[in-house]
């Protein structure tokens, strides 16, 4: 899909969908940006599935893309090919892009390769969230085994400025138990932001994290090359979501979160 600026408003300029991946285009709430809500009508992701999303924000466009629900990735057999979920975001000059899918829940035994490739034009601003929960923690499940590979690349005006590669393979819970990994945590998120006023925004995010920090959830943020990078580690999906929502609140000032995030 692509968004374009028309006068003071942003409108959808091109839209195609196929397979079980659909998007709705709700009328924005007061104070919110235009946008789309992505929906997987298959209800979840099985091994061998392949989903891809491509979004373009043309010059000056301002829009939020979120997802209707948490994405669930089912258990795979050991010889199954991992599921693939790819997203490509083209953020044009002076555009404002928000990519706010909900968390991905990996069932025990799930295998997922995910990639997010972002290109930022001159003067563009963005806010990205990628959140993952290892096991259905709400019912006490942990992801004992499986595979998760996550790849985030951010190019600014053609130069690679950030590359994040998460690799968790094999005995996932045992790796997550390790002190420098997650010390037993079962949920992680990255929030990445670019825009005006870097250090002030970084400090605002750190303050929000500090206010929300408690047993079972921790977070940090750092600004480099004009990108605000952050990581959150939490004991379960619920604690992760509280911290992510606190972080998004600090970065989005008073704009309301997409309704799908409000719970």
């Amino acid at each position: 899909m692509s968004f374009a600026r028309r006068g003071a408003l942003t409108e959808i300029a091109r839209f195609e969908q196929q397979g079980s991946l659909r998007a709705r285009l709700p009328r924005p709430e007061r104070g919110a940006l235009a946008g789309a809500v992505v929906l997987n009508t298959a209800g979840g992701i099985a091994s061998g599935d392949r989903f891809s999303t491509s979004v373009t924000w043309r010059e000056g466009a301002e829009a939020t893309v979120s997802a209707a629900a948490a994405e669930r990735v089912y258990r795979a057999r050991d010889d199954d090919r991992p599921a693939r979920v790819d997203a490509t975001l083209e953020i044009g000059p002076d555009a404002l892009a928000e990519w706010l899918p909900q968390e991905t829940i990996l069932f025990d035994g799930a295998r997922l390769d995910r990639s997010l490739s972002v290109s930022l034009g001159r003067g563009a601003s963005m806010l990205l969230v990628e959140a993952v929960v290892f096991g259905r923690t709400a019912r006490g499940e942990r992801m004992l085994h499986g595979q998760f590979r996550d790849r985030i690349d951010i190019h600014r005006e053609g130069t690679l400025v950030h590359a994040d590669r998460i690799r968790l393979e094999g005995s996932v819970a045992a790796i997550l138990d390790r002190a420098a990994v997650a010390r037993g945590g079962a949920a992680i998120a990255s929030i990445i932001w670019a825009g005006e006023g870097g250090e002030i925004v970084r400090d605002r995010l750190r303050e929000a994290f500090a206010r929300e920090a408690r047993e079972g959830v921790e977070a940090g943020a750092s600004l480099r090359d004009g990108l605000l990078l952050s990581r959150i580690v939490a004991a379960d999906g619920a604690a992760l979501r509280r911290m992510v929502v606190a972080g998004l609140g600090a970065l989005r000032q008073n704009r309301p979160l997409p309704r799908v995030w409000q719970c």
Partner: protein, 231 residues
């Protein structure tokens, strides 16, 4: 690629490798701690056992592994005199920093390594990628490749320099006795041997890890009230 590695170094190559990976080589390693200063402050690393566990995590699931993969690819590109491949590896390695201080640690040491090489081994220094955004791992790998140092030896030496840097910081910060620090380094032998073998065969897509809490520690170190170390 899969032939038995030749671990016998010519005396001249061994001479270079020992010098370049020595704590006395002027890359400024003494000023970096890889975020460990925060981990000590937070009580995460408080004795030899917790230091060893933290180091194993970094080597198996974190920056130790990723840097070894980048070093190996930089080494091969330098041996093949493939400047384009080397530039691509340098760019990816520089983009990997999860925080400002981890970037400083890599780029400050990379730049210092390139300067030292240019001063004393100018012919080898010409094999390095441009000094802007040059990571220490890529600079070391490319230099070793251009200097006739076998990949296995270069990997082991670089991991020794990395582990030595973090452990010597921990000895001062925790504090630990010198013997405790040495015992941790001795206990890392097996991990380093395994890492050297697997990183030497890894694809560039295999770089990556999961040391989320080590990343958060380096972010938290930026605002730590009293600090002995730059990173």
């Amino acid at each position: 690629m899969t032939s038995a590695p030749d671990r016998t170094l010519e005396p001249a190559a061994l001479w270079r490798l020992l010098l370049w990976s020595s704590p006395a080589f002027p890359v400024g390693a003494f000023s970096h701690a890889h975020g460990l200063e925060w981990s000590v402050e937070a009580g995460e690393v408080s004795d030899a056992a917790s230091l060893l566990a933290w180091m194993e995590d970094l080597l198996q699931h974190g920056s130790g592994w990723s840097d070894a993969v980048f070093l190996a690819h930089a080494h091969r590109a330098a041996v093949a005199r493939d400047g384009k491949a080397l530039a691509a590896i340098a760019s990816l390695s520089a983009a990997f920093a999860p925080s400002l201080e981890r970037q400083v640690e890599q780029l400050a040491q990379g730049a210092a390594f390139a300067r030292a090489l240019a001063a004393a081994w100018p012919a080898i220094a010409e094999a390095l990628p441009p000094p802007e955004r040059l990571t220490y791992a890529v600079a070391f790998g490319a230099a070793a490749g251009a200097a006739g140092i076998a990949l296995d030896n270069a990997l082991t030496a670089h991991l020794q320099a990395f582990a030595g840097m973090v452990v010597s910081a921990a000895v001062r910060l925790v504090p630990l006795g010198q013997s405790d620090g040495l015992r941790v380094l001795a206990a890392l032998e097996r991990s380093v041997a395994a890492l050297t073998a697997s990183a030497g065969e890894a694809a560039i897509e295999d770089a990556g890890g999961a040391c989320f809490r080590a990343d958060i520690a380096s972010m938290a170190h930026e605002t730590q009230y009293t600090r002995l170390f730059r990173t």
